[in-house]
Symmetry: C2
Subunit: 139 residues, 2 copies
């Protein structure tokens, strides 16, 4: 057993009840990335990747950061968008709830903060969240 070493913080975010058309619009999702990157003072590495799936499909967006990476996937058929923000350094909390309500029409936003390098399932509750830390599992 090696002592857990925290190498990064990851935010896993689920936004539910979003506007379906907005979840199909790359520009709207790119605007979420831009706001987050600017607000937290992040720096992009290389080009961002955006893909709109055919027809009624959603969008995938991905960008490498000096601080790690940012990803989103949208599912208009379920009115859901998910985000991953992984930072090798801790950052101030971003108001995911307010931003995703305003920008995507989300009616419910769930945020879980995870410490990478530590036991995988050790989650850190964020403001207002009821998530509890659970014992980690080593393979």
């Amino acid at each position: 057993m090696i002592t857990p070493m925290i190498v990064g913080t990851e935010w896993l975010v689920e936004a539910k009840g979003c506007d379906e058309d907005t979840l199909r619009d790359i520009d709207s999702l790119r605007a979420v990335f831009s706001a987050l990157i600017e607000d937290l003072g992040l720096r992009t590495l290389g080009k961002d990747v955006w893909h709109k799936f055919d027809g009624e499909g959603g969008v995938t967006g991905l960008v490498a950061l000096t601080e790690s990476h940012l990803a989103c996937h949208t599912y208009p058929e379920y009115k859901i968008a998910t985000f991953n923000l992984y930072c090798c350094k801790d950052r101030p909390e971003w108001d995911w709830e307010e931003n995703l309500r305003d920008r995507l029409g989300a009616s419910e936003v769930t945020v879980t903060k995870i410490q990478r390098g530590a036991d995988r399932t050790a989650t850190v509750p964020v403001d207002g969240a009821t998530a509890a830390a659970a014992p980690g599992g080593d393979v």
Copy 2:
């Protein structure tokens, strides 16, 4: 409260005790991506992004998939690599432990499987893991 809808499966992987030089070598990490993509029949979307940080720094790798995305970050100073594999469809389990032991020299591999769109902290134990499902937390 909206009923949780599972839209994807994400594997969060921490590999510890890895070989430091291998964690600085983009080709070795790209080979992990290639093996995983081939073994699970995944399809890439656009170009993969690789960045080697200066000097003794690690590597960041990122690729969008038709099925969602794959990311890795390495920390040679701590002998740690972390991976995220996010798939919108469930996939067979990949043998992260064997692959990362053989390819990166990892002495300990921790895998946690998370259902995206569901309550954030609901983790699914993988073979051999002791991770327990925890109650989810809604913001």
